[in-house]
Amino acid sequence: MNKLQGPLWITVVLLLTSSVALLVRAGDLGADDDDDPGPSGPDGLRAGATLYQDLPAPVIPREIRAMPRPKRSYPEQPPVIPHSIRDYQIDINFNTCMTCHSRTQSPRTGSIAASVTHYYNRAGQPLGAVSPRRYFCLQCHVSQHEIDRAVESTFRDMEQLIIEEASQRRGRN
């Protein structure tokens, strides 16, 4: 009994100190994690936050049911959809958009017929129905939602550039 007592005590003391040390170390690690803000996120959509931070999710915006047709920024821009498209089906069976935007239905429904570019295939050959590459309208046309701009746009359209240049030239003369 007596012979064993010495080593036993030593073992107990060693075990205790090492576990305390481990605990302290673990605490340190935790503290490190909390303090480290991580690399900063890309500015813009995630303004102010870093990659490790959880931001509150933004509110899911509401679809605008109807609005005046907005101006296109440039001639080739796919115009945005100025009306609600809730539950509109576009799949192998059916394309709801074309019930109003086809050549035949547009006068009756008061819509603008999808322009002829929608009927050309990529070889420039006009087809009898909407070309497969234009079939999924929402690839290019988007409905509008009640939401603030995430990033301000500095886009200036052609007319603006022409006016600016003209006034500059007038200034020079």
Binding site: R86, D87, Q89, F94, N95, T109, G110
Partner: protein, 198 residues
């Protein structure tokens, strides 16, 4: 000979005037029995109107019900919901019984597996949809009008597209709801050849 005799005996018995019951009791009994039968029949019929019953059949749960869920008749800002029976079962009693008798055929189809897979459902969808379109066209979209009454539509609240159509074709009775609002609750089948729908 024997059978005819028994039948004959029963007939004489039933044909005899009641000996021990007063006419009042008889009338009352008949009345109560009638109510019980009528009530039971209607209750049973009401039970088959509950959505849970409709979608206890696998195909109805997987296809029409799940398709209904994201649409406006299942989730909207007002929290008012349409159930299967609201659109598919007439409220008028005679029409209701007629539709139920038709539906018995559908139960048959279910038992014998006429439509028990995704593929079979999709293959028959046009036929099934057309049956509903014909019914709604024939009754001037009665089931829709049970909830949506034209007389109470406020055009100023409607979007311009809706206002334009409702104030013209709908108001004149030229078209009814289902002419323009197909696929309001479920995915549509291949629509080739459906007039005004390409």
């Amino acid at each position: 000979m024997g059978i005819r005799k028994t039948v004959g005996d029963y007939w004489t018995l039933l044909n005899q005037p009641a000996q021990y019951l007063s006419l009042g009791v008889l009338t009352l009994g008949g009345f109560i029995a009638g109510i019980l039968f009528w009530g039971g029949f209607n209750t049973a019929m009401e039970f088959t109107n509950i959505e849970q019953f409709c979608i206890s059949c696998h195909e109805m749960e997987v296809k029409p019900y799940r398709e209904l869920k994201p649409t406006i008749h299942y989730t909207n800002r007002s929290g008012v919901r349409a159930q299967c029976a609201d659109c598919h079962v007439p409220h008028d009693w005679t029409f209701k019984v007629a539709r139920k008798m038709e539906a018995s055929k559908e139960v048959w189809g279910w038992i014998f597996g006429t439509i028990n897979t995704h593929e079979k459902f999709e293959a028959r969808r046009r036929e099934l949809a057309e049956r509903e379109w014909t019914r709604l066209k024939a009754n001037d979209s009665l089931e829709c009008r049970n909830c949506h009454d034209f007389d109470y539509m406020d055009f100023t609240e409607q979007s311009s597209r809706a206002r334009m159509m409702h104030a013209s074709s709908l108001a004149t009775g030229e078209a009814t709801c289902i002419d323009c609002h197909k696929g309001i609750a479920h995915r549509l089948p291949d629509m080739t050849g459906v007039s005004a729908w390409q």
